[in-house]
Amino acid sequence: MDEVIFVEVLGRAGDVVQRHPVARLPATLGRAYDNDVILDDPYVAPHHLRLERDESGELALVDLDSRNGLFALDPTTRVARAAPRPDARFRIGHTQLRIRPRSYAVAAEREAAARRPWFRRPAMLVGLYAAALACVLLYGFASTTERLEPLKLAMPAVWATLAACVWSAGWAFAGKAMAGRGNFLAHTSIVWAALVLLLGAATVSGYAAFAFSSSAIDDATIVPIAVVIAGALFGHLTLVSRLPRRTLALAAGGIVLALFGALSLAEYASKSDQPSRMAFLKEIKSPAVRLVPGASPEAFFAAAKDLKPKVDALRRAD
């Protein structure tokens, strides 16, 4: 038979780890050296499977009475015999298999991006770095109420640059180890983009919270901040790992959720009801920023009556 069948050993993420051409049927798969396809998995029997054509000429995988059996996946069911469709996956021992004929039609090639992704473009890197430094400088300027000293003002930018380099170097080492490529500059691009977005989000929400006199806006700032951090983490991960993007996105989201969850839990545990802590909207901007009308004194103090049951409840809770 001139037809060649390919036995593919798949990795965890569905990637092909080994590909064995089988030119002659029936063929056997197992750990022993007299097999046509040798699998180095201690959970695979010396002679585990036979790949053959049945009477009607269809391909068939047959379990050779192995201890651990043959499983068809999606969904997982133990079978003694199965017809391997080109996209079906099987498991023997801890090894995933796929059987494809030579005639298998592959998808058309992906179109290469006309340009490099944003975080690999030198112009973008320079632009982002400049924007981030501008943000840090502006932020430092806005929060200095003493006389301006250029050197003091520049220090946060220096520290930010150092910190970003150390952080990116860490990722670059990981990338070199895991994917063979450091991508140091691409990592720094991600840091600068994240920094610009973080400072931007904090500033915008601060202004909005004051303008609308809304603690809810202030409290919600944590959402864009978490999203930006998760996004940056996802960017770093895609540069250092070949796992599918979905897996990486889930990982980034999970890490950020766990981190923010733990932080807010710690905050809650430490000072939720310290008698000296006053929780109110602390953002103050220029008078012109205010967008909502003020309450009348009567309305303000009438609303303050609603605090009484809350305070009394705290008292009773003890």
């Binding site: 300027f141 806005a142 929060s143 200095t144 109420t145 003493e146 006389r147 006199s213 603690s215 939720s272 009801d273 310290q274 008698p275 000296s276 802590r277 006053m278 929780a279 109110f280 909207l281 602390k282 953002e283 103050i284 901007k285 220029s286 008078p287 012109a288 205010r290 909502v292 009308p293 003020g294 309450a295 009348s296 004194p297 009567e298 303000f300 103090f301 609303a303 303050a304 009556k305 609603d306 605090l307 009484k308 809350k310 305070v311 009394d312 705290l314 008292r315 003890d318």
Partner: protein, 433 residues
């Protein structure tokens, strides 16, 4: 801590310290020379003087020490409330005992307290005791007086000093006594040359020379009379609560009886001292290197009630700060206001044992004159139902280069009265355009 400060005014602060327990003595506390007149007074009084100790039951160790004196033949003893506060509020944890000059000791039963005047009456279970008589009628400024007690647990001591009349500005009358009263002498008697008690040692001004305070004898007489005729309260905690409530009601009545006075403050007008018992201090902070100027005024009371080591209350205080930009720019000036407005301030020492957390309300408040940012925070007293601490912060939003930040603290007030005063306070903050 026992001996906590009880009044602070700006940096020039003079702090009145209760004379409860051993605090390190300073050079200023050196004993005044005792004249020959002191010896007969001491000889006549010494068997009527007691050292009072609050004992921690679990360890049988002293938790607070003070002094006291026998005031009737059937064993009534006068001391300060702050000496017996632990026993009054936590009778299951502490008990009182007395120690005489000769070292004999015995138990004391608490009969009555007067939190406002800082007095307590206790009983020794004995009859026919020698006792000190209370004096009718006033001394005159410059008269000699002799304060007695057990300073720093060093033994019974007599201190000669001068009667200087009643303290000016006080909400509740106190005698100004010039003499070296020290920690541990709290509750001890101050007697005139005739050997009769005219005051009870209560506090001294920290950082001053010999400035001490006595509770006038008439209040001790009133409490003794009440203790002799009335059964002691079931629970002193409730009694203390009632007295705090009555105090705040009196104070609020005084505060709300007349419109709150205002004082000019550059372009701004803001509440001024509501009476002689609250004194205001001014301060400029115009360091040339800074791109802004600060004018500050702080108004603090001349009184504050000691309730427990963790709670002093019953007072009000407020401050106004005008901030003026000197080329700071709107952006940075807003940041300056944010840091001033967001600071907690005025809170000092607050424990979870006595107080709940704050609950706050913040909003813009608009009146005819314009709009301010206002925050009102309220917390409750855990052991004294119906009493609250209120904090009001107000920031004017009239200009982007000048603003007034005002802060009001009302401690141990009722809900309605406190809110009403806070509302009037806010309405008194105005400015010219």
């Amino acid at each position: 801590m026992p001996g906590t400060t009880a009044g602070i005014a700006l940096r020039a602060a003079l702090a009145a310290s209760l004379l409860l327990a051993a605090a390190p003595a300073s050079a200023a506390d050196a004993a005044a020379p005792v004249s020959s007149a002191a010896r007969p007074v001491f000889e006549r009084s010494k068997d009527k003087l007691l050292q009072l100790r609050a004992l921690h039951n679990a360890t049988l160790s002293q938790a607070a020490i003070g002094s006291g004196f026998v005031a009737s033949a059937d064993g009534l003893v006068v001391s300060n409330y702050h000496v017996v506060a632990k026993v009054a509020l936590e009778p299951e944890l502490y008990t009182m005992e007395y120690v005489r000059g000769d070292g004999t000791r015995g138990p004391l039963t608490l009969l009555a307290v007067d939190v406002v005047h800082d007095l307590a009456v206790l009983r020794i279970d004995a009859r026919g005791l020698p006792f000190l008589k209370l004096r009718d009628g006033q001394l005159r400024k410059g008269d000699r007086g002799y304060a007695m007690g057990n300073p720093h647990d060093l033994g019974l001591t007599i201190v000669e000093g001068t009667y200087n009349g009643y303290v000016e500005h006080a909400l509740y009358p106190q005698i100004h006594f010039t003499g070296a009263i020290n920690a541990g002498m709290s509750g001890g008697p101050a007697v005139a040359q005739d050997g009769r008690v005219f005051g009870v040692n209560v506090a001294r001004l920290v950082g001053s020379q010999l400035v001490s305070f006595l509770v006038p004898g008439e209040f001790a007489a009133q409490l003794l009379a009440a203790a002799a005729t009335r059964a002691p309260p079931q629970r002193f905690q409730d009694e203390v609560r009632q007295q705090l409530a009555a105090h705040q009601a009196t104070l609020m009545q005084r505060l709300l009886a007349a419109p709150l006075p205002v004082a000019r403050f550059g372009r701004y007008q803001a509440p001024d001292s509501p009476g002689p018992f609250v004194r205001c201090w001014g301060r400029a902070d115009n360091e040339a290197t800074r791109p802004y100027e600060v004018d500050a005024k702080i108004c603090v009371p001349e009184f504050r009630l000691f309730v427990s080591d963790e709670l002093q209350t019953g007072d009000l205080r407020f401050s106004h700060t005008v901030l003026r930009s000197r080329g700071l720019g709107a952006l940075r000036f807003a940041h300056l206001l944010e840091s001033r407005f967001g600071a907690d301030g005025f809170d000092g020492y607050a424990t979870k044992k006595e107080l709940t957390g704050y609950r706050c309300r913040d909003d813009f408040v608009t009146r005819e004159v314009g709009t301010v940012r206002a925050v009102l925070c309220i917390r409750g007293y855990k052991r004294f139902e119906g009493l609250y601490d209120m904090r009001l912060k107000v920031l004017t939003l009239d200009r982007s280069s000048e603003a007034l930040v005002s802060s009001l603290a009302l401690n141990g007030v009722g809900y309605e009265g406190g809110l009403e005063f806070a509302r009037r306070y806010l309405e008194r903050i105005t400015w010219t355009k």
